[in-house]
Amino acid sequence: MLNYLSKKSLELLITFFGITLVSFFLINLAPGKPTDAVSDLNPRMTPEIRAIYEKQWGLDKPVHIRYFIWLKNFSKFDFGRSFSSDSRPAWDKIKERLPITILINSISMFFIFLIAVPIGIHSAVKPNSLSDKLTTVGVFVGFAMPVFWLALILQLILGVWLNILPVSGIRSLNYENLSWINKIFDSMRHLFLPIFITVFGSLVGISRYMRSTMQEALSQEYIVTARAKGLPESKVVYKHALRNAILPIITITGLSVPGLISGSVIFETIFAIPGVGQLLYQAAMARDIHVIMAEVVIVSILTLFGNLLADIGYALADPRIRVK
């Protein structure tokens, strides 16, 4: 077990350095400097001032040296300062926004599994039944639906026309004056649409995957044996087949983290939620490379951490892996 985990951790470490390398060079070799946003529109900008300005931000050194400087600072969790007018350290800006994004994504993840796994099991156990066909249609609809569009439509119908849910933000204006029970209720009302949208976006893929692993498990010989022993069908399905079918789903969880976080950019922008997705959108709009780079790295760390958790979960669930 320990062996397996240390091997996995090493792999993740290499992957992580690869990510920093790829994203750093991508960001820094792309034409256009972050200082352009300030200097291009400034009539008093001379080449000399531009050079001073670039030196101040350390942009005068060759890119590979800048990468090592970046790595050194990264070990102190110093991602440099934001290029925007507040000049705050990039890490501080991200730190205060992380909890809400993690909260929304974790709750969504919980619901995705709560709904996707039973749907997958059901359509695998009764293939070609009416409900299986309905879920197949649902899967196509889910894949083809532009999620941000669904978000806008729901915002329009539920928020504007019917006026039963708040359109944006995470709290009402009078939040401070509410009793604690109303505070919880208020947050739930604000988070409902973002979570609904996130769950909808990932639900179909995972339920489809669950269906195929479950079908695979049900066609194995040990299922025939279990049935031949005269076990009740519910025991065959939920004990013998499910335990094997659920394993790949754990891996998929790890792999679905980047997609979930990518989705955050869109729904946080639509619903005005002050999370890391919205920050990335603002930073990208302002070409704030220190913040962008910090975002990419931190989100990748989260993703890799998700992968590691999935690997641990897999090892706990499957003794064959622990022994190897």
Binding site: P31, F143, A144, L152, L255, E295, V296
Partner: protein, 256 residues
């Protein structure tokens, strides 16, 4: 689906108005006899803009996935054929690309380079090749041990010839399906990027940026956000159904 191609090709004939003509006297008209799908905030005809948007959205979808497929096929073939160090390097690269939230990378590059249709196609292609590379590699791993490959090698065929003439044609079947599904994915991706303002830039119409423009007026002009979304939805749905159809037709296991 062929209807969509027809719309894209014959856009100038089908569109009732010029998509870029601004008519300030007819701002935000609701759908009616003169403008079937209404007009936008500058008085442009939504139907005409959507018809022209079909061209942009479809071509981005196709070209982006063509780029992704070419990269994926080449890297997958090399990785699967040579194995060992090259294989593990390429597969590590795949892992890295799969662990970065692609949307973040896309936004980053577009923010720095500045969005244009070509850049959008190119970056969507660059971030979408990993699954194809894995598919092709898996095919290569089994095919390279087969007799016909050994035969080709024994008559002295070069590596490049073995890869591209002998193995690749046999390895392409799963690629067709993922190409079709990928087009739908790329159209969704483009509309998402354009929606955030990092994709196709106005005044060029794309389904995504018609939506963005409509977002500000959605309380008074629901038609601006409803119709482009439906267009994206129907297009992607037809690609997914086509992809699933091809998969079932090609998969011998499902024929029994």
């Amino acid at each position: 689906m062929f209807g969509l191609f027809a719309v894209a090709i014959f856009a100038p004939l089908l569109a009732p108005y010029d998509p870029d003509i601004i008519n300030m006297e007819q701002v935000l008209q609701s759908p009616g006899a003169a403008h079937i799908l209404g007009t936008d905030d500058l008085g442009r005809d939504v139907l005409s803009r959507m018809i022209y948007g079909t061209r942009i959205s479809l071509s981005i979808g196709f070209i982006a996935i063509a780029i992704a497929t070419i990269i994926g096929v080449i890297l997958g073939s090399i990785s699967g054929y040579y194995g060992r160090l090259i294989d593990s390097l390429i597969m590590r690269l795949v892992d890295i690309m799969l662990s970065v939230p692609t949307f973040f990378l896309l936004l980053t590059v577009l923010a720095i380079v500045g969005p244009s249709i070509w850049i959008v196609m190119f970056v969507i292609g660059l971030t979408g090749w990993m699954s194809i590379a894995r598919l092709v590699r898996a095919e290569f791993l089994t095919l390279k041990e087969r007799e016909f490959v050994q035969a080709a090698r024994s008559i002295g065929a070069s590596d490049a010839r073995i890869i591209f003439r002998h193995i690749l044609p046999n390895a392409l079947t799963p690629v067709y399906v993922s190409f079709i599904l990928g087009v739908a994915g790329a159209i969704l991706m483009e509309s998402g990027l354009s929606f955030l303002g990092f994709g196709v830039q106005p005044p060029t119409p794309s389904w995504g940026n018609i939506l963005t423009a409509g977002r500000e007026y959605m309380e008074v002009a629901w038609w601006l956000i409803l119709f482009p979304g439906i267009a994206i939805f129907i297009t992607c749905l037809s690609y997914y159904i086509l992809g699933e159809g091809i998969r079932q037709a090609l998969d011998p296991k499902l024929k029994i």
